[in-house]
Amino acid sequence: MNNIIAYVQNIQSLQNLNIVNFTCKGTPLKMMSLDLNNNIQKDTKVMLTCKPMAIALAKNLQGEVSYANRLHANILFIESGELLSALKLQFEEFILESIITTDSCKRMHLQTGDKVTALIKSSDLSIKKVLV
C-alpha cells in the first residue's frame, strides 16, 4: 500500500541535504532527504512510499498550496469510522490509502468515485526501495 513506482529526474543537493525530483506517469514528485545512497541517480527506478496519515485530500483545489506533491486520484472506497476514515484512492495504477478525520470526510462530502487531489509534503515522502 502507498507504493508508487517513479523515476529520478534530477537531484538538487546542498551538503548532505537533497531534494530529489521524480516523475511518475507525467506527475512530478518531490522528496526531501538527507544523505542518499550512491545508487540513487538520474533515471533510477524507485518505489516511493508515505504513511496514510501523511496524505491530505483536497476537492476542487484552487489557488496555491505548498505541498510539493499533488496527485490526481479517484476515491475507490471509504471506510468511515467514528473518528477517523480510511480512504482508498486510485492514482495511475497505484492504490493509495489516506487516513483523515471523519469530520473532514463529512465536511467535504467525500464519496466513492470523487476526483480528489492527494497532497503529500516532500518531507513525508520516502524511498522504500531502489528497483533495478
Binding site: 526531501m32 476514515s85 518531507s123
Partner: protein, 284 residues
C-alpha cells in the same frame, strides 16, 4: 601503518572457525572492532600483541612482527594493552604503576594530569573506583608511547556517566599522542564518538569495514531514523491500528493502517523507521 594478513583456526563455542583478516590500518587511525561474542575480536587483538600463535604476516611501520613463522616476542612489540579488568599492580601506588612500565616521571605526571588522576597518584589501586582504575590502566598503557594501543572493551564494566567521561579522555589522549588505536566495542555511540573506522567481524571474517556513520546508521531507503524492535501488541482502534513495539528497554507506540497491520504477527522482529525530518528532539 599496520599491514596484517593472518589465518588461524579457532575452537569456539560453535565448533571450529577460521579467523581470517587482511587489513591495512593507517598510522594514527582509531579503529573500532565490533561483532558478536565469539567472532574473533579479542583473538585478533591478542594476535597483534603476540599472545597467539598464528599463520601469516604482520608488518608495523616496515618492521616485520610476523613473517615466515618468525614472530617478534611480545615484549619487543611496542604495544599498550588495556583489558576490561584493570590488571593493576595492587602493591604499587598509582604513580608507581606507571613508572614501573617506564621510569619517566614527566610523562607520568602529564598523563595523570590529563586524566585528572594527579591528586590520586599516591593512592593504591584498591582504594580507587572502577573508572579511576581503568584510567590508570590506560595511562600505564601509554607510558611506553606504544605504536599501537589495544583496548579490549575497556569501558564496558563502567556506568554510563563514567563511560562517557572516559570516552572523552580517550579522545583527548588520542588527539595528543596520535597513537594508532584498536578498540573492541559493542556500543554504537562509543564507536561513533571515538573511532574513525569500524571493522565488523562475524564468524572470523570481516563482514563490514567503513566509517562509523556509514556502517552504523541502519537505514532502509531514505529513512534515517530506524530501530529494530519486537512487536508486543497490536490493537484496532476505529479504522486504525496501534502497535506496541519494544526497542531496547523502551516501549513505543506506532499507528499503522489496516493494510500495514495485515501481515504483522505478535513477537515479530520489526524495523521502525521514519524520515529524519519528523522526530522532535527535546532536552531532558
Amino acid at each position: 601503518m599496520i599491514k596484517l594478513n593472518i589465518n588461524k583456526t579457532l575452537h569456539g563455542a560453535e565448533g571450529v572457525m577460521n579467523l581470517h583478516a587482511n587489513l591495512n590500518i593507517k598510522k594514527g587511525e582509531f579503529v573500532a572492532l565490533s561483532g558478536k561474542s565469539g567472532s574473533g575480536k579479542t583473538t585478533l587483538l591478542r594476535i597483534l600483541a603476540g599472545l597467539e600463535e598464528v599463520k601469516g604476516s604482520i608488518k608495523v611501520d616496515e618492521q616485520a612482527w610476523l613473517e615466515n613463522d618468525k614472530s617478534l616476542p611480545v615484549q619487543k612489540r611496542e604495544i599498550g594493552f588495556v583489558f576490561q579488568d584493570y590488571a593493576l599492580f595492587e602493591n604499587m601506588t598509582v604513580e608507581k604503576n606507571l613508572l614501573f612500565v617506564k621510569n619517566d616521571k614527566k610523562l607520568a605526571q602529564h598523563l595523570l594530569e590529563l586524566t585528572e588522576l594527579d591528586s590520586l597518584k599516591n593512592r593504591y589501586p584498591n582504594s580507587l573506583s572502577g573508572g579511576q582504575k581503568q584510567r590508570v590502566s590506560i595511562c600505564r598503557a601509554l607510558m611506553k608511547k606504544p605504536k599501537i594501543l589495544l583496548l579490549d572493551e575497556p569501558l564496558s564494566a563502567l556506568d554510563p556517566t563514567m563511560r562517557s567521561k572516559l570516552q572523552n579522555e580517550l579522545l583527548s589522549l588520542h588527539k595528543e599522542f596520535h597513537t594508532t588505536t584498536i578498540m573492541v566495542s559493542h556500543d554504537p555511540s562509543e564507536i561513533y564518538r571515538l573511532a574513525n573506522r569500524i571493522i565488523v567481524l562475524q564468524n572470523g571474517k570481516v563482514i563490514n569495514d567503513g566509517s562509523p556513520k556509514d556502517v552504523l546508521l541502519k537505514t532502509q531507503g531514505s529513512q534515517k531514523f530506524s530501530f529494530e524492535g519486537e512487536l508486543l501488541d497490536i490493537k484496532k482502534i476505529d479504522v486504525i491500528y496501534v502497535a506496541i513495539v519494544a526497542i531496547g528497554q523502551q516501549l513505543v507506540e506506532v499507528v499503522v493502517s489496516s493494510s500495514e497491520a495485515k501481515n504483522l504477527l505478535l513477537g515479530d522482529k520489526v524495523n521502525l523507521s521514519t524520515k529524519a525530518f519528523v522526530p522532535m528532539i527535546t532536552q531532558n
